[in-house]
């Protein structure tokens, strides 16, 4: 599995895509999308990261186990961030109105 050889063309294509992604990120940051600026920024970053993981890191050709492993990392990251944020977002709930 680790022996899959990705052709150089693919590498260059991904590289180009990453550059475009960077440009898009910067461009999007200067447009006022209110609360969606961060969403867009993170989406682009996620796409870029996926490209790196998939092609530069050969996960596209790797075993299911490796894919699972990568997914696990992001799921756990999501757990810690989202549950902690739930605290901050819901602190006002259930307390009284004087």
């Amino acid at each position: 599995m680790s022996e899959h050889i990705v052709s150089k063309k693919v590498y260059y294509a991904i590289f180009a895509a990453l550059l475009i992604g960077t440009a898009l990120t910067i461009g999007a940051a200067f447009i006022n999308l209110h609360n969606f600026n961060i969403v867009v920024a993170l989406l682009i970053a996620a796409v870029k990261a996926t490209l790196v993981i998939y092609f530069f890191m050969h996960v596209k050709y790797a075993s299911r186990l490796t894919k699972l492993c990568v997914a696990l990392g992001f799921i756990w990251l999501f757990i810690i961030v989202s549950i902690t944020m739930t605290d901050y977002l819901t602190r006002g709930w259930f307390t009284y109105v004087p």
């Binding site: 599995m1 680790s2 022996e3 050889i5 990705v6 150089k8 590498y11 260059y12 991904i14 590289f15 990453l18 550059l19 960077t22 990120t25 910067i26 940051a29 200067f30 447009i31 006022n32 600026n37 920024a41 993170l42 682009i44 970053a45 870029k48 990261a49 790196v52 993981i53 092609f55 530069f56 890191m57 050969h58 186990l65 490796t66 492993c69 990568v70 696990l72 990392g73 992001f74 756990w76 990251l77 810690i80 961030v81 902690t84 944020m85 901050y88 977002l89």
Partner: protein, 248 residues
Amino acid sequence: MSNKVKSDEHSSAHGHGGRHPRLVHHFDSMEQQNEAGNFGMWWFLLTEIMFFGGMFTAYTVYRHMYFDAFAAASGALDIRWGAFNTVVLITSSLTMALGVYHAQMGNNKKLTMFLLLTVLLGGVFLGVKYIEYSAKFTEHIFPAASNFQWPPYEKPVAGHAETQQLADPVFTGHVKIYFFLYFVLTGFHATHMIIGMGILLVLAWQSWKGKFSKEYHSYIELFGLYWHFVDIVWIFLFPLLYLVDRHL
């Protein structure tokens, strides 16, 4: 039931007489050894995600709590350096990937070259980081310094309503939180790069000495994973730190 890991075919396929010289004693086959290394590296990267994850959690919480301060503080960073470094790091990922490619082809010369190129790009990145860091000192926005000052010393903050440049002690505290996070996130990221560059130099030296071959190059691949991971962290750091609220 079938057992995918270690079957007798495996070991016999490699022949009883022919253990690869690089095969460590407790493994049965090169495949097994490589797979273990590869899998181990992925799990290591998993722990790295969680390591940075702790800081991302703190970042998310405070960005939510003190958005204005984060927006203003982020405006004090130089977006051009950030973008430049993003490109540098992406390029270094490309050179690394090409290095792996040539390792797989067994092309030692090119491998050495690309490894060195990667080190070089890493060096450029750190150089820029140095410029940026020292700017923070001269602008008095290094959070641990006693002369911390907001708005930054002799520097207008890009693109922000006057309110956000207020010299308010509480607001300044929140700005400090931003810069604290900025420094630990980029600091730990840079530490990873420095370690990575150290390893890269060793690998480059080894490949120059001809240690690697078409059959034996798993260290290069494993290290590639690490390097790309560091790149990915930056892909997220760049928008999160530099682009909080850039529009006018």
